[in-house]
Every structure is written in C-alpha cells, then in structure tokens.
Symmetry: C2
Subunit: 281 residues, 2 copies
C-alpha cells in the first residue's frame, strides 16, 4: 500500500502528536517540525507510508534526545493490565475462545495515537464481541491454526500487547508454540522488549525482536535472524495497520488482525474508518 498525497498532511499531524508528548518547549517543537518537512519533500511515493514515518520518528527521537512515547506506553501497559482478568474470563467462558481472543486482540488495536480511556476501550471491546468483523476470514484462520504447530506473532502497540497476550495464551492452551516479535528499538508507541516484560508476555512465550526501529515491518531493515523466522514460519499473525501496510502480499499463510484507522487505508479497502479486520494476506 503506497503513500497517498493525503498522507502528507497526516505525517505532520502525527509528528506534532509525538513532539507534544516529548517536550513542552514550543521553539524546539517548531524546529523539529520544520526539519521534518525534508522527509515529506523527498518522500518515495512508491513505498508504503511507513517508510516516510520511520525517517520522521527517527529524526524526532534524535532531536529530542529520547523516546517521546515512553511515558504513555507505560501508562497504556498499566491500563490494559487492569483489564487482563476480565478479558481472560470473557475468553475462557466463550463458546469459541480462539475467535473471542482474536476479536479482543483486534479491539486492543484501538490503543494507538488517541487518548486511551477505559470508556473508549470498553465500547471497542463490546463492538468487537457483539458485531461481525468488517473483513472476516476467521473460519480460514481457525482452520489454519488447527493445521499447524508454530506461529510467529508480530506485535504492534504497547498496551495492546496485553490483549495479544490473551490470544497467545489461548493458542498455547491449544498446544501451539508461539514466538512473539517486538520492535528492535522504540518507534511511536510500538511494543519493545521492555513493554513485553511490563505486559507479562515474556513469561508466557518466547519473545524476540525484529532488529529494526521501522514503523510496521520493513523486511529489508530487519535482522537476518528475524527474516529467517519470517520466511520459515508455518503461520504468521500480524497485528496493526503498519504491519498490514508493509507486509500485505509478502508471503503465504499470514493473517492481519487490525483496525483500519486512517481514511486513506479505509478508502483503499472500501471500508468505513475504524473497521475491524481479520484478513488473510
């Protein structure tokens, strides 16, 4: 999925969110925001938006001298952990734990740039559990899970990974081996090894990192070790829009679980903004 011109204003909008999280110094915010226009000027529109946003967020971290999302990520992990028992019960008591946990993992993908309040997440959970998914390849997904032993699970955001933990625990109960993948280092509010530890995921399954600070998964920038895992995996579960943008058509037996959160992507998919998808790649 390539950059659209509508992404250009959005690049600056997202940068501003990061800058305001990272510093109260308005002069510094302005300086960095102006520097970032270089990446828009030179954006390669044959590539997914994730390429440009990777450069932008690297520049922001470099100029701020740190990760602007560190604090909010910790907050998201904590808030999501408060829901853990409830979500685990919903999953265990449902007729189809794998489907329920998958829907909850998609609901968890709402934890992104916005302000994550318990009201937002409650309504999103209810929407995921009580409505059809807008794209629903869940039958094929469940069949595929039943046929394999190992799953490579590409995580997305901090906080959200508590929801992923519940899906991973459900898969493990069904005797699947799961290897979860975090980013190699901080980018936006994506989960790193630190978040996986905070969310209790490292005690549940093996967690590896992809060796990259890119938005989504830009394969050529990931480590050789991750590339091997990716190519050899029996099955991949890919969380979030960034992974969808960058990995669509990348290989067989990959399932994308996410909410379509931007108008460009939603339009390309012919869906309303906020649509929930469990989509075979």
């Amino acid at each position: 999925m390539k950059v659209q011109l509508d992404c250009f204003p959005c690049f600056l909008k997202q940068a501003l969110i990061a800058l305001r999280l990272g510093t109260n110094n308005e002069v510094l915010q302005e300086t960095i925001l102006k520097e970032i226009t270089d990446y828009i000027k030179t954006a390669d529109t044959s590539m997914p938006p994730a390429y440009t946003t990777t450069f932008i967020h690297r520049k922001i971290r470099q100029m701020l001298g740190g990760d602007p999302f560190a604090e909010i990520k910790a907050k998201y992990n904590k808030l999501a952990l408060e829901l853990y028992d409830k979500l685990t019960n919903i999953t265990s008591n449902s007729g189809n734990p794998l489907l329920t946990a998958s829907k909850l993992a998609i609901a968890g993908n709402v934890i992104d740039f916005g302000i994550f309040t318990s009201i937002d997440i409650e309504s999103t959970i209810n929407r995921a559990l009580n409505n059809e998914l807008e794209v629903d390849d869940s039958e094929e997904f469940i069949k595929s899970v039943s046929e394999i032993n190992e799953i490579l699970y590409l995580l997305d955001n901090a906080g959200e990974i508590v929801f992923d933990r519940i899906l991973i625990e459900t898969l493990i109960k069904a005797n699947k081996r799961v290897k979860a993948v975090v980013k190699g280092s901080a980018v936006i509010n994506d989960a790193t090894m630190f978040d996986a530890e905070e969310a209790g995921l490292t005690g549940v399954c093996e967690v590896i990192d992809n060796g990259s600070d890119a938005v989504g998964t830009i394969l050529q920038w990931t480590s050789k070790k991750f590339q091997d895992e990716f190519n050899e995996a029996q099955m991949i579960i890919s969380k979030g829009q960034g992974n969808f943008e960058t990995l669509l058509h990348s290989r067989k037996n990959i399932y994308f679980l996410f909410q379509s959160k931007c108008r460009v992507v939603s339009k390309e998919l012919g869906l309303d903004n906020g649509a929930m998808l469990l989509m075979k790649g």
Copy 2:
C-alpha cells in the same frame, strides 16, 4: 493571530484541495505539494497563517499556470445568485433588515473550501436567523452604522459576495455610501473584480480592489490607494476569517463578520468550530 504548529498540517491539506481542483495530473500534484514544504520549513510563526498561505497559493498558481479555483468560484456565484430573491425577501420582511442582512452575510461566509450544496447553505441560513450569534456586538454595530455616512466593505469569497450584496443594498437603502473591496488578483476562492461583476455587485456600489493577492488583508502588501481608503474610512466591515486574522487590532471602528472555521482560531476565541461572529475589532 499568529501561526500555530497545528496550522502546518493544515497548510498541506489546503494545498491539496487547491491542487486537486486545479489538475488531475497526480505527478504534478505531488511535485507541487513537495515544493510547498519549503514554505512550511521557512514559515514565520510571528505572522498570521495568511502570510504562509499567500506564498503557498502563489506557488500553486504559478506551477499550475492558472487559477485552480476559477471554475468553482463561478459555480458558487451562480448558486448564490439563485438564492438572491429569497434572501432579499427575508431581509425586507424582517423587523430589523440591517441585523437580518448582517446575519445572512455571516451565514454566507460558510461558502469556503467545502462543497457548497443548497442543503448546507439552507441549514446555515436557518442557524444564522434563528440562533444568537456566538459573539454578538450587533447593537454597537447598528449604532455605529447610524452615526456614519460611508462604509468600506472588505469582501471575502466568491458566492458569499451575493450575500454581501444584500447587506450592502440594505446599507444603501439606509442612505449609506458603501465602497466594496475585492482582491487585486486571484487567491483561493476570494472574490476578485470578475466575481463582483458576476454577482451583480458592481451595479450596486463602487467596487475597488486592494492591489494584492494575499490571503486576508496584509496591509503592507496592498496598494497605496487601498491603504489610504483603509486608514481614512469612517467604518469598516470586514468579512471572513482571513481578514479577521490579518486585521484584528488594526484600527478603530472595524467590525468582523465571519464564521470561525478552523480549530486553531476557534480555540483561540474560546468558541466551538463553526461559531458565527459579529465582533467589534
């Protein structure tokens, strides 16, 4: 009112609207959009947003080789003229024609970047006529009109100027001399002499131009003739947000009639977006 960092994404968003009106060539759209990032990189944030947008829209016209808004302006003039008889009757039959015509002129300010449909404008007219203005200095405005003989009337958008024509005709009926001001040449969908002719305004009062292609009214870029008119006017009616941004605190006895259409301006004024104002400067 100075540029805020929130204006930066919006500069690109507005440029994209202009580019898509001006050409179907997506490569050209991309080339121009990328060129425009230079004006964001060098934006003077001690100045109103109108400074930066003036440079941006000059560049767009130059690179497109024409005015991307020409067609839509003609359409707006035509659509607004279809409402002329109805709006004139509403004004004449009201208990306070000057207040009614002023409210209609504020309603007409909705004719901006958006798509102007008869439904939008009908609902805006009803809102203007049936609700209080969010900022209402109309008593002082009507008193001021009663005390002077001549008014300099700064017009804003094509289409909208049909609504202004009705307010100007109401002022003329009350024995005021009105001089209306259009832009010196095309910028966004602002009215030029051509639009004043299309809207039948040139047959109603003297129309002059301000010698400038700036968004709003950036006094130092206007003609000496206009500057003299501005400084010596007994009273000024200023239409639209661009004029408000650039002329607030510029002189005595100036009244701003507009809708607050962007979140930055609305927030600065402590109002909801879309608020209607008749505000003493």
